[in-house]
């Protein structure tokens, strides 16, 4: 690594780091930039850093620079990845459902074809959570009550989509409260200002275990290993499924031999025990998926999101 950085700086000093020289050298001869479409310290950022830590340690010659491009629900970052030179020196992270939601709502300048999907790394299951002293204990209670105020993290977010799904399945209409970030949702639930919230597991698992809030359902197809006693919404008779995923994508068109090098590296790192241990410590739930699998997931998700959007555009 050190050698590589000396080489890079020498190359820069000699003015050799320009494009023709880069083509002549062996990949990689300069640091690879990873675009993270959210702020430093957030869960997507931490996922990226878990990867770079091991990648730099175990792969000779690789050096990574993380560039945080937060804003507009990740759209600024996604656009930046899609626009980047397809030379293998810029890759990035994506997160769902925002990646496809921006396409569906017609705001994105990219499409799924703008990316080469490298694979998924992490997930955060959707949950439904209520204040600790709430009379609502199951999804049936949630469907039976009327006029509930329900907090979701912004319009077009995973929470919003899940709440909309539940509304149409259960035939209820929530008084939806969009918040700016999960922090406001958390404060609203802990302070009892709303009746329920659609959130993600990592945001509330500690509060649930401490008894400050109560999760009433997991929005996954099967029970989650982090909270094995918690029934899914599906078990309770409501087929609402939502999870956030966070994976790696690259701009489409990177030469095959370089792209496959990166794809293999990602798969190998995700399979390592050290990676799994670090993720558990950092409260990141892993869900490894290969590139083709993840692309299929994204395509499917886009179709589902489109259906929700067509019913109730935002």
């Amino acid at each position: 690594m050190f050698k590589a950085s000396i080489f890079t700086s020498v190359a820069l000093a000699l003015g050799l780091a320009s494009a023709p020289a880069a083509l002549a050298g062996e990949y990689p001869d300069q640091p690879v930039t990873i675009i993270v479409p959210s702020k430093a310290g957030g869960s997507t950022d931490r996922t990226a850093r878990l990867f770079t830590e091991l990648a730099e340690k175990n792969y000779e010659g690789f050096e990574f620079v993380i560039q945080n491009v937060p804003g507009s629900g990740g759209q600024k970052g996604f656009e930046a990845i899609a626009r980047a030179d397809a030379d293998g020196y810029t890759i990035g992270l994506n997160f769902t459902p925002q990646l496809v939601a921006h396409i569906v709502s017609g705001r994105a300048q990219y499409t799924l074809d703008s990316f080469h999907v490298m694979g998924n790394v992490a997930q955060d299951p959707g949950i439904v959570v209520v204040p600790a002293d709430s009379p609502i204990k199951t999804m049936a209670d949630l469907a039976a009550a009327s006029g509930l105020t329900v907090a979701v993290n912004g319009i077009g977010s995973d929470d919003f989509l899940a709440a909309k799904q539940f509304e149409s399945i259960a035939g209820v209409t929530f008084n939806l409260l969009p918040t700016k970030g999960s922090t406001e949702q958390k404060a609203a639930i802990l302070g009892g200002h709303v009746d329920a919230a659609f959130m993600n597991l990592s945001q509330m698992i500690k509060q649930h275990k401490a008894g400050d809030a109560r999760i009433i359902a997991m929005l996954t197809e099967e029970r989650d290993a982090n909270l094995p006693d918690m029934p899914t919404a599906l078990e309770q008779g409501y087929d609402v499924q939502m999870r956030a995923t966070r994976g790696f994508v690259a701009p489409a068109g990177i030469p095959d031999e370089i792209q496959s090098q990166l794809d293999t590296m990602l798969a190998e790192i995700m399979a390592s025990d050290e990676f799994k241990a670090n993720a558990a410590k950092g409260n990141i739930f892993l869900l490894p998926m290969s590139g083709p699998d993840y692309l299929a997931y994204l395509t499917d998700l886009q179709a589902q999101t489109q259906a929700v959007y067509d019913q109730a555009p935002w």
């Binding site: 310290g41 931490r46 507009s72 404060a187 200002h193």
Partner: protein, 494 residues
């Protein structure tokens, strides 16, 4: 005791010192903020010992909150929005050659506010965090109103109340640009992705204050600061008597507001400043260089440091954007905010809290020691000052979001702001509207949704009732005196 030993080990002390010192420098430069510094350094602490990493970040947070006041006083270029109120009093003092006293007041007030808030954090964090939960969106709206009442107090210095109000409304109108959080629709974004998140207030702050100040300096024929007074004051003008009262007021207000979620420090500084003006016996000196105003504002914004960490570490609800970045550092090290921090990770959490006391001590020493030298910054000839600060302004605007767009935004604010300033509109009111407008809007619309369309929610809770009393207390006296003033002028003219 063992926690003290961790903090007072040589390496820990060095780490805290570096953090606090760097924080002061970061806070002092236009465009560099504590949020950015902590955000950038969070990944850096990934490989550090957890306790050390947190101490470094805590030091930066404490230092930067104080550092913002230095350029505010010396150059009228607040490094953070929380220091805008400080500039209103500090810069006139600087021009009168009383910069050393202003600097001394600000550092001692910052220390007082910071230390008080950390005491509260150490002793009452879990209890206070529970109380703060009662504070919902409706109360957030009222808090923003309370901050906006500051516009009135900016106004009655030069009695152009109408112009200050127009400037404040203009700020709020600019803040409308961006995504409407309630409906997800876009407002006045003109198809630019850069505007989807609205106008960042930092480029606005840099343009309206740093850049305009430099444009004005560049336009002056001679540098008109009274240097003879500065030479004389080097020996040290004593702090005015009774100023402790204003520091106490600021420290209490700042800590309280810091605990509540939201853009704490700016509101805290303005409300403290406004309150101090109400109780001051020398009201007429406000706006012309009153150290009481500096004391309240600086104690207020530093009070937010400890305050904002109360809900952050107990509930995982960060009190402001810096605390949010700090929370990222906690999580990276596996320390998920909640009761665990005080049991399982007590050997990291308590040293971190204790280290904040040390950080406050460090910036106090740095501030007192360097104040006489810093005061000389105001004497730097414009030929050097203007290009340097202007370069920082451009760099800082870019660095916030790695966005070239923000540089254009900053320049647009500088040009538009210069025109407004020449016409007598208050830029302080404009920035206050720009920062607090969205907070007020968010609180109002969320409150209305929770209240299912009934505005009674804004009067319902006891907290809300108390807040209305304070808002009226802040608004009515200045309006009454303004009315008297106009009435008299009318009579005299008639």
């Amino acid at each position: 005791m063992e926690y003290l030993a961790i903090v007072f080990s040589p390496w820990a002390l060095l780490t805290i010192f570096i953090g606090a010192f760097a924080g002061v420098a970061i806070g002092g430069m236009p465009g560099l903020t504590a949020t950015m510094a902590v955000g950038l350094l969070v990944p850096f602490t990934y490989t550090m010992d957890p306790a050390m990493g947190l101490m470094l970040l805590g030091g930066i947070y404490a230092g930067a909150m104080y550092g913002g006041s230095i350029p505010a006083i010396l150059l009228n270029t607040p490094g953070t929005p929380a220091a805008v109120a400080t500039a209103i009093e500090g810069y006139p003092m600087s021009r009168a050659g009383r910069a050393p006293l202003a600097l001394k007041t600000s550092v001692i007030a910052s220390f007082a506010g910071g230390t008080f808030s950390v005491f509260i954090l150490l002793l009452f964090a879990p209890f206070l965090a529970r109380q703060a939960l009662a504070f919902g969106p409706a109360e957030t709206f009222l808090l923003a109103l309370m901050g906006l009442a500051g516009i009135i107090s900016i106004a009655d210095e030069n009695s152009s109340l109408l112009k200050a109000l127009i400037a404040g409304v203009l700020g709020m109108i600019i803040a409308i640009i961006g995504t409407d959080d309630m409906s997800g629709s876009l407002r006045y974004t003109m198809g630019l992705v850069e505007l989807y998140d609205g106008i960042d207030f930092m480029p606005a702050l840099i343009g309206l204050f740093s850049m305009i100040q430099m444009l004005e300096l560049a336009g002056q024929k001679s540098h008109e600061i009274d240097t003879s007074a500065l030479e004389k004051e080097q020996k040290g003008e004593k702090l005015p008597r009774g100023i402790g009262k204003y520091m106490g007021l600021g420290a209490g207000t700042g800590t309280l507001i810091g605990i509540l979620p939201g853009e704490g420090a700016t509101i805290a500084a303005f409300i403290s400043y406004n309150l101090s003006k109400r109780i001051s016996k020398t009201k007429e000196l406000f706006g012309k260089g009153n150290p009481e105003g500096i004391a309240a504002a600086e104690a207020g914004n530093n009070g937010c440091v400890g305050g904002s960490l109360v809900p952050t570490i107990t509930l995982g609800i960060p009190g402001n954007s810096v605390a949010a970045a700090l929370m990222g550092a906690f999580i990276i090290h596996g320390m998920i905010p909640g009761p665990d921090l005080f049991t399982e990770y007590a050997d990291r959490t308590y040293p971190f809290i204790i280290s904040l006391f040390v950080a406050n001590g460090v910036f106090l020493a740095v501030g007192l020691f360097f104040a006489p030298y810093l005061a000389r910054i105001a004497l730097v000839p414009p030929a050097i000052m203007v290009p340097v600060v202007a370069a920082f302004a451009v760099l800082g605007s870019y660095a916030l979001n790695n966005s070239v767009f923000d540089i254009y935004l900053m320049i647009a604010f500088a040009l538009g702001g210069l025109v407004l300033k020449k016409l007598g509109y208050s830029l302080e009111a404009l920035i206050l509207g720009l920062i607090l407008g969205p907070i007020a809007e968010g609180g109002f619309s969320q409150g209305m949704i929770i209240g299912k369309g009934s505005p009674w929610i804004f009067f319902d809770s006891n907290i809300a009732k108390v807040m209305w009393v304070i808002i009226l207390a802040l608004l009515v006296p200045p309006l009454y005196s303004y009315w008297k003033h106009v009435h008299k002028a009318g009579k005299a003219a008639g």
